[in-house]
Symmetry: C2
Subunit: 419 residues, 2 copies
């Protein structure tokens, strides 16, 4: 269904209005709506790929890198994956209507704290058309309307996907205004979305650290920050070689471009002779470039000298920084200075040290003897990936559908007044 | 203990540093620290009243109204109440360390989601010295350091209270830098606090709608909004007279200056003849000035004509607005337009209508047949009043100590890696 409202504000008003009926849909109605969207996406594969081709052509003309073109590209198989991801979200349990607390006041008023939709969820993200579908599905499954603002480079793809999704809602008698885009207003669209306090209830930026920083700084709408991961693994004096090697290699190599991949390995000095050589060698065997401090360089071959800047970098590639530190205190100091409070892990055979690390490190997920790659909604059993929150308000760590809901208190009385 | 750091930023850095040791204190240590603060406040009553006298004198010279002077005033009895409120907070259960979720992943990694302190809680508030002690006690009880910014008019009182509280912490071997004030930097102090992203984890403004609006708009630190209450009561066609009269009078008269007091009564047209006259009369008998629309004026005596502006006002006084509306839809429309999403209540004998109201009204607390004055941390059984959140993120409605905590995931493994 075509978008007709002509200003960003008008569209956000329509979304807010639609959020009332969307919020009252039953579990089954929401799941069916998502399945209708998935079917509509499958049916419109030709149109979606054609719209995407326009974006790709413009991207090539504008000199978009190969990597960015690949993020932007939708072929028939990727369109099929989009639809199937929507069906997975449809299968998740309804996060709305859970009774989270319940009590009866002395005078007899009965209180229930129940989960409710936020109302309108906004999202600002980059030129990845899959996010358009992903966020819309997650928002609708949790009873929210959604206002989308994707990267300009994906504008034609997003417009087509939004049109298809709106059509699917209309086809099921659901208000299509629940899905809005402000892509066509360029920077103004993003700005209006960030200032739409009272119309948009929460804003979820997805993308680079810079995009998130901009949204956090400029938005007056409350933001759920899904941040970058400068992730650390500490190798304690007592760390078993096998655990240290396996965990570090897995945390770096299994998927280097994601936020839960390790960036810095801190080895306690009295374990350095024993563990730096085999861990570095295992990393190098797996194709990783190791950037090390002087102590690391002295203990292993082919180590690129690390500079202070290396400790503050999220490589997103097969690069890792290794530093030898005096003791656990020094490791904790390093983490406090450089961590983005996403995930940190210690490898140790000493339970007291593990517990100290778990208690003192102030990150969304703190691990002992496990790969940092486990920080993930899917791995945690949430069934969907809303993002990984690195803020402390509302949600922290991997977010599932319940994190896209708020709460309200229902009070049922029989004429009670306060004495 | 005297404040020595000389810039607002230095003090916030000290608070952040102190938050590490404060966050690791045990339940008993935190409770004992609060009791020491209460004792120290009792012991310093002379100095506190003397400092307050300076503020009062300056206030009178500056032409502070009687009402504001009263809010500012601390006599021996009020100082005693401050200390006793701190003891009440000490007696509350520790909100830190609760296990909120727990699961074992297929590979054997054990996950726990536990409540942890935010770290540093900031608060910006008006010239009420009691808030200085109140917020500091709540923050410390939940394992947080605190940075305070009170109204300039209470500067001497606050400085003395902060000195006394810091001394009490130092006397128990706890880092006194956990309590900081930036009062002496005037507007710059507030501005630096609002921009202290990374140093301050959450900001809780307390005070007028205007103060809260400023903080929400200007802060890059996440804010918990404790908002104004334009609170509605709907009187349904089926409302029993006694319930309608008792609830409306209680909601307005029991304490008119607070946010959960009713501001607007919406009477359904087919109940107006029966209920407007007795409800208005009961309000007037209780000393309330009734501002009514034309229908209300036609049905009752001594009704002040209401203007559109009346629907958007939080009176904070013995004034109430009354409007006759066509039906429940019209009442819901009115609420959507004017409510601050704090508390709304319906008086009805019709359960289906009650349930519709509970489902459709989007406020922190939605009631059927109960006085809106029940929206209160104390009444809800939380034992302490952190404020009443009117936002949807993190906390909504009356907040207790648990709302001053965040969470983190602890993962305990034995060398597991992700496949």
């Amino acid at each position: 269904m075509t978008v007709t409202a002509t200003t960003a504000r008008e569209r956000m008003l329509l979304a807010k209005d639609a959020s009332r009926s969307i919020g009252l849909l039953s579990d089954v109605e929401k799941a069916d709506a998502l399945r209708a969207i998935a079917d509509a996406i499958d049916a419109a594969v030709t149109e979606i790929v054609a719209a995407n081709a326009e974006d790709l052509e413009r991207g090539r003309a504008d000199g978009l890198t190969e990597g960015l073109q690949d993020r932007l590209r939708l072929d028939a198989s990727r369109v099929g994956s989009l639809a199937s991801a929507v069906r997975d979200v449809a299968d998740l349990p309804d996060p709305v209507g859970r009774v989270l607390d319940e009590r009866t006041l002395p005078g007899g008023v009965h209180l229930q704290k129940v989960s409710v939709p936020f109302g309108v969820v906004g999202s600002i993200y980059e030129a990845r058309p899959n996010v358009t579908v992903d966020i819309a599905a997650l928002a609708l499954r949790s009873g929210n309307a959604v206002v989308l603002r994707g990267g300009t480079a994906a504008q034609s793809s997003n417009a087509e996907l939004v049109r298809v999704m709106r059509g699917a809602l209309a086809g099921r008698g659901i208000d299509p205004e629940a899905i809005q885009t402000v892509d066509d207003f360029g920077r103004d669209g993003a700005r209006e979305l960030m200032q739409a306090r009272g119309l948009v209830d929460v804003l979820v930026p997805r993308g680079s650290a810079q995009l998130i920083e901009t949204v956090v700084t400029e938005s007056s709408v409350p933001v759920i920050e899904t941040g970058a991961g400068i992730v650390h693994i500490v190798i304690d004096s007592t760390a078993p070689l096998e655990w240290a090697r396996d965990i570090v290699v897995n945390a770096k190599v299994q998927r280097p471009s994601v936020c839960n991949a390790v960036e810095t390995v801190l080895v306690l000095r009295d374990a350095a002779d024993r563990l730096v050589p085999p861990v570095v060698e295992a990393l190098q065997d797996a194709g990783v470039t190791v950037h090390g401090d002087q102590a690391t360089q002295a203990l292993a071959h082919d180590v690129v000298p690390a500079t202070d800047a290396d400790w503050a970098i999220e490589h997103m590639s097969l690069d890792v920084s290794v530093r030898v530190v005096d003791d656990l205190d020094a490791a904790l100091d390093h983490i406090r200075t450089y961590s983005t409070q996403h995930t940190e892990s210690i490898v140790t055979a000493d339970e007291a040290r593990a517990e100290r690390f778990l208690a003192e490190v102030d990150s969304a997920v703190v691990m002992a003897n496990a790969s940092t790659r486990f920080t993930d909604g899917g791995e945690f059993g949430f069934g969907a990936e809303v993002g990984i929150s690195t803020q402390k308000l509302h949600a922290r760590g991997p977010m599932g559908l319940p994190e896209l809901t708020s709460t309200k208190w229902l009070a049922r009385g029989a004429g009670q007044i306060r004495r």
